[in-house]
């Protein structure tokens, strides 16, 4: 189990780095997919089968397909990548550095949270997640679903507006 954890962690970190470093957007997307799959593997190690599968369905199966779709439609390549000016690079470095600073500041004083039920291996199964979501966190759950619906309606409205203009 420990060996599997280190293997998956190494794959996740390496592929995440490759997402940033690879020049072609298609390769970035593929490495991101590998990263997501290895994170799903971590969930399985924690016996959270439901989370793992939903993670694969939502992130790998839906969101990344849309990413790939857009990249393919726009035919983004290293060859026709717009040249970035010196100013953009400097700005990017400063922004990234600031983000790093914020992250370090936020995690500096973090304490290790003790797991509530460390011996409960069923915590990631469907039943437990359903009970928790629909009993303990019912209101936040429903509100977040309303948020998703409003985002969907907004996207449809934006799409409609464009077609009218044409």
């Amino acid at each position: 189990m420990t060996f599997l954890f280190y293997l998956l962690a190494a794959v996740a970190i390496l592929s995440a780095l490759m997402v940033v470093f690879s020049r072609s957007p298609i390769n970035s997307v593929i490495f991101l997919i590998i990263c997501f799959l290895s994170i799903a593997g971590h969930y399985i190690l924690l016996n959270a089968q439901f989370l793992a599968v939903v993670h694969i369905i939502v992130y790998t199966g839906a969101i990344m397909v849309l990413f790939l779709f857009v990249i393919m439609l726009l035919n983004l390549n290293t060859s026709n990548e717009p040249h970035k000016s010196q100013l953009t690079r400097i700005t990017a470095v400063i922004t990234g550095g600031l983000l790093l600073l914020v992250l370090i500041a936020a995690t500096k004083d973090a304490v290790l949270i003790q797991a509530k039920n460390p011996a409960d291996y069923n915590i990631g199964l469907v039943k437990q997640i359903g009970q928790t979501l629909f009993k303990q966190f019912l209101l936040p759950f429903e509100i977040s679903s309303v948020l998703f619906i409003s985002a969907m309606v907004g996207a449809v409205m934006l799409g409609k507006k464009d077609s009218k203009k044409n």
Binding site: I33, V53, V126
Partner: protein, 344 residues
């Protein structure tokens, strides 16, 4: 896990792999025979008696063909495409319960490789990863027809995955479990889910046709518009993998439909037969495969009967037809279950 259990699982895994491949292989033969029957022809009848060796001849031909990778293609992704298509197609068979329990020399052997408690979702996840095979292959070919084919395939599969997922939600509402084994066990006798979820079954069936890219939903490889669609540039065994993956997907979808809606390895009066438990298990598996073969025949029947959709018709059917219907199906199912629990 004890050694013999691990060993039996591994052996069973290889048996399932072999059965999947053989069924897919002979599906190509069956398809041509069914097509011939529908069009009043004879079909393949030269290789072996009744043309039974035709799939072997086809496979040999695929292997012997020259392997061509276009100069401007992205080599890695070009090879990765068919590999992903084939791998995800084969991975799905793991969670399907192919039969009950066999007892051999005191050991109970389950005719299912892994009884995940999220079996349906696992199949769904594999289907959604399968899209990448087609998308990457089409894009890496660096050919406009291949790209159009793969973009079509991706948007079609995403659109129909939604309706399919919602048909599954309605089914899960009635069964109360995500494990395929438990779903099958609930359908003993005549309690097949098709009688409880007729609309859901219809939605699932049509979506399965769309997910496997079979006619009338074969727009990704629509010959009249796109030459060969996403596999235009492919040759040799890489093309073979794509074509073969389609037949494996068809077999697995038929198995999933039989499991979810037609009672899996259950058949009426199963428990009343005065036979040994092992014999009953094997009989159940045989019945399961008969159901699968009938559904495969249904796939072919529809392919050779209906003409292909136009692309806007396909999208309209998915987004404006099936998604509202499947949402209504979920609501009706939920209300019925609520009142049933309230009053009975």
């Amino acid at each position: 896990m004890e050694t013999w259990e691990l060993l039996s699982k591994i052996i069973f895994l290889f048996v399932i792999l072999a059965i999947t491949l053989v069924v897919a292989m002979y599906s190509t033969y069956a398809e041509r025979k069914v097509a011939a029957f529908m069009q009043d022809r004879l079909g393949p009848n030269r290789a072996g008696p009744y043309g039974l060796l035709q799939p072997l001849a086809d496979g040999l031909k695929m292997f012997m063909k020259e392997e061509i990778i276009p100069t401007m293609a992205n080599r890695t992704l070009f090879i990765l495409g068919p590999s992903i298509a084939m791998t995800t197609a084969l991975l799905t068979g793991v969670v399907i319960p192919w039969g009950g329990n066999l007892t051999i020399a005191g050991h109970v052997i389950s005719l299912q490789v892994a009884d995940l408690n999220i079996g349906i979702l696992y199949i769904f996840a594999m289907v959604s990863i399968g899209v990448y095979g087609i998308m990457l292959g089409g894009w890496a070919s660096n050919n406009k027809y291949a790209l159009l084919g793969s973009v079509r395939a991706a948007s079609q599969m995403i659109s129909y995955e939604l309706a399919m997922g919602m048909a599954i939600i309605a089914l899960v509402l009635t069964t109360g479990t995500l494990s395929l084994k438990e779903i099958v066990d609930q359908q003993q006798g005549w309690h097949w889910n098709i009688f409880y979820q007729p609309l859901g079954f219809l939605i699932f069936l049509v979506c399965a046709f769309a997910e496997t890219n079979r006619a009338p939903f074969d727009l990704p490889e629509c010959e009249t518009e796109l030459i060969g669609g996403y596999h235009t540039e492919y040759s040799s065994m890489k093309l073979g993998f794509y074509l073969f993956a389609e037949y494996i997907n068809m077999f697995i979808s038929a198995a999933v439909i039989a499991t979810l809606y037609f009672g899996g390895y259950n058949f009426p009066f199963l428990n009343r037969l005065p036979l040994d438990a092992n014999v009953l298990t094997i009989l159940g598996s045989v019945v399961f495969f008969l159901k699968i073969f009938f559904l495969i025949f249904l796939f072919m029947w529809i392919r050779w009967t209906l003409p292909r959709f136009r692309y806007d018709q396909l999208m309209n059917l998915g987004w404006k037809g099936f998604i509202p219907i499947s949402i209504a199906n979920i609501m009706v199912t939920g209300v019925v279950i609520y009142f049933k629990e309230l009053f009975f």
